[in-house]
Amino acid sequence: MISIEAFGRRLRARELTSEQITTRCLRRIEDENPRLNAFILVMADEAVRQARHADRELASGHDRGALHGVPISIKDILDIRGVPTTAASRVREGHLADRDAPAVAHLRQAGAVFLGKTNLHEFAFGTTNEDSAFGPARNPCDPTRSPGGSSGGSAASVAAGMALASVGSDTGGSIRIPAAACGIVGLKPSFGEVSCDGVVPLSRTLDHVGPLTQTVADASLMYHVLLGGAAAATPAPMPISGLRLAVPRAYFCDLLDDDVRARFESALDRLRAAGAHVGDIEIQHAADIAPVYMHISFADAAAYHATTLQTVPERYTEPVRLRLETARYVLAEDYVRALAGREVLRREVEAALAQHDALLLPALPMPAPPIGASTVAIGRSTEPVRNMMLRLTQLFNMTGHPAISVPMERTSAGLPCGMQFVGCRMQTDALLRVALACELLVRGESSHSTV
């Protein structure tokens, strides 16, 4: 599917209209959604109405900027006024949003067209998208596999050409994981930059809202609109020569699928050959990441769900209900220990970035797992899928640093995998400039196949 940037050029050259591209997406949804189950709700009539309005506005000289007339999907965890926000759960039956979440309002104001709401892991409490009241979403690259999660439907909608971009949420990797699994770009901005109001929370101190797109440039356009400002032009890529990049090898590269490791190392070689300095660095307490993350995210989720676990437990999918029930047993003293650990980790990531422009690591240690798999073989060891899915992303939700997953070359089996770039807090624009500079080298392409 055409990128946002390319569509904008053709729209303004009067070669393509919003209605034409929206209709094309809706046709694609009609063809592909029965196979992929990416959408929970398709808003076809409303989308065409919005697209025609966008075309009329442009014809009359009113240009709202880079997202004018761009058809996108929205994860069904953000409020769109007038339609339910299900969070992929029967617990939310009967809900109707009476206003747009601020992030959605910014997109509406920027002229975006809403195609519909996408499937997710129930309440975003999972990374495979298997546990949804609407059934699992599937990976467009191989429908027997998970699209990742929790924003799996969002990633599938973009990767399958059903939308030009999507908006997801990320509490432990829920934008970057499905982006890597489906072969697209996923950006988690710095904590607090994009409003999480009107978004069903998983953990208020870990939740982030951000875009899933085909290119880094498109992620930048979406990010600026989500902030609520005018859609800025794509920033200039940072010069690659002299770029200071660091790989946290211990822990983060200990457990990697062989194919993912090979693609990661090849991409690093290309960056070095282009003049970037790529060194190694250590996050001293990396081994504590999973326990710290689990105690914070579990306690936060338990507090939010305590009432409905008591009153309507049968409305949850069984796996999510059981995990939430487990979460209710976290002791206050351990939650406080985890908060201390989070602070230590935050300072260690700050230290790692003090002399570097970005940290580089894979976004996902392996390609998308088969739907239904509870374990995955990594080298000679067998690991739980859930632990592996979160392993490389959850740290940066705790520390609040911006992070973006960019597609690498596909594995020998043709499955996508992603490289994660992590930047300094509240410097998401600088991170985007680094990712823009490196994108084609990381992809192993001379130009975008999607554009």
């Binding site: 002299g242 307490h285 999973a290 105690h295 059981l322 487990t326 002791l331 351990d334 985890a338």
Partner: protein, 66 residues
Amino acid sequence: MTIDQWLEAAQTDADGRRLTALKPLLETLAGMTKALRAADFNERADGVNMQCGMRNLEFPKRIPHS
């Protein structure tokens, strides 16, 4: 409460609520809690502190791009 005592109490509670499927999940949580409590950033009232107290970590100054 030690982790073993906590796990036993939690599993008994889960049994009482007819949530026996919780037991393996509680064991996983107990393992994570054990790791969390063993981390060297934890502080102790007797002053016998770990190698890496938070106070030992200064915020680094960012070095501008040259």
